[in-house]
Symmetry: C2
Subunit: 222 residues, 2 copies
Amino acid sequence: QMLSEKFGRGSKTIDAELQNRIDSLRDVQRKYSDILRLARLLNARLSAVFQTQRALSDVFSELSAKSTDLHEEFKYNADTQRLLHKHGDTLLGAINFFISNLTTLCTKTIEDTFQTVKSYNVARVEYDAHRTDFEGMQANAPRTEAQKNKLENCRKEYEKQKLKFERLRADVQIKLALLDENRVKVMKKQLLLFHNATCAYFSGNQTGLEEAVSSFHVRLKS
Amino acid sequence: QMLSEKFGRGSKTIDAELQNRIDSLRDVQRKYSDILRLARLLNARLSAVFQTQRALSDVFSELSAKSTDLHEEFKYNADTQRLLHKHGDTLLGAINFFISNLTTLCTKTIEDTFQTVKSYNVARVEYDAHRTDFEGMQANAPRTEAQKNKLENCRKEYEKQKLKFERLRADVQIKLALLDENRVKVMKKQLLLFHNATCAYFSGNQTGLEEAVSSFHVRLKS
């Protein structure tokens, strides 16, 4: 069946609406994976910035203790860099939580639906093969008892495959609907967390940052 | 003279107070070079963060245009990331200005004083060599006319070297004083710029960031 489809022969059962929904899910998965990749990169690069700020605050601090002439200037720089890398850890915790939830969504939740889509595609090919057999046999109007028996068996097999195919199509439709609902719920929450934590950190709002993190139950590395 | 000093013979003219000031300048140069190295690293790492924020704002923006269900969530994230990397360029400009001024201080201004210190050290060795010669000759109370002439020549040479040594010691003292004044002036200004620009950026104060930068006449890459 797959071969005859490849060579343009044989008829193929097409559910255009369902196929569109599957294609657009694949697109969503691709785009969310882009976000995931960039969020991981952002996390690594911010972490490198915070390390440098820690080292800078140490040097400034040492110079502040040693210098009489620039004591104040080194001190306020040491304090600022220390605050920035300290609060930075909270921001990294929030971004890590975002990454972890998006990873689950992309590699488990969406992937699970694609497994059902795969089974559905296999069932579709088998169903079309049996349907083509049955239709061909029916067109050659069977005359002998043996021919009639063969047609009857073929019809039974065809209907069994049809049921299986229709059950899997319904499965895919249900999973797609549930996934869509779940995806929107997860992303709404995660995008809000990501935004609130980012805004709070980059506006020097430490209270806001703590609140963003605790309202999303982010577990921070101690 | 250097050899006999190395083997613990010969006497060495020591200006302990001046030597302390030279040693502490060497320490200052080392510490400021640490700041310089870390500031360069911070600049490179922040620049990498801003690049990622730019890429993130592009993906969020694309998804905001495509999605109906999460349009708002993607949009405010796109806007925030765009603002952060846009203002980031101003911060990088300020840090670059700080780096450029510290580089001049460490590799030109301080280095210039060390060149004078080097000449002073050479003159000190030469002076001590001639002094040792002269003192030795004087101790062996010369009797003949030839010996007296030799002593007189030796004394002249010794006094010429003494003058040269004292002139260079005065040069070093003046340069150290001027350098100290200049160093404190430059560092006060640069540490204030660095602090104000950092605080303004990380508190989301774009006006403050622009003000910090323009008050220090930082030329930004267009």
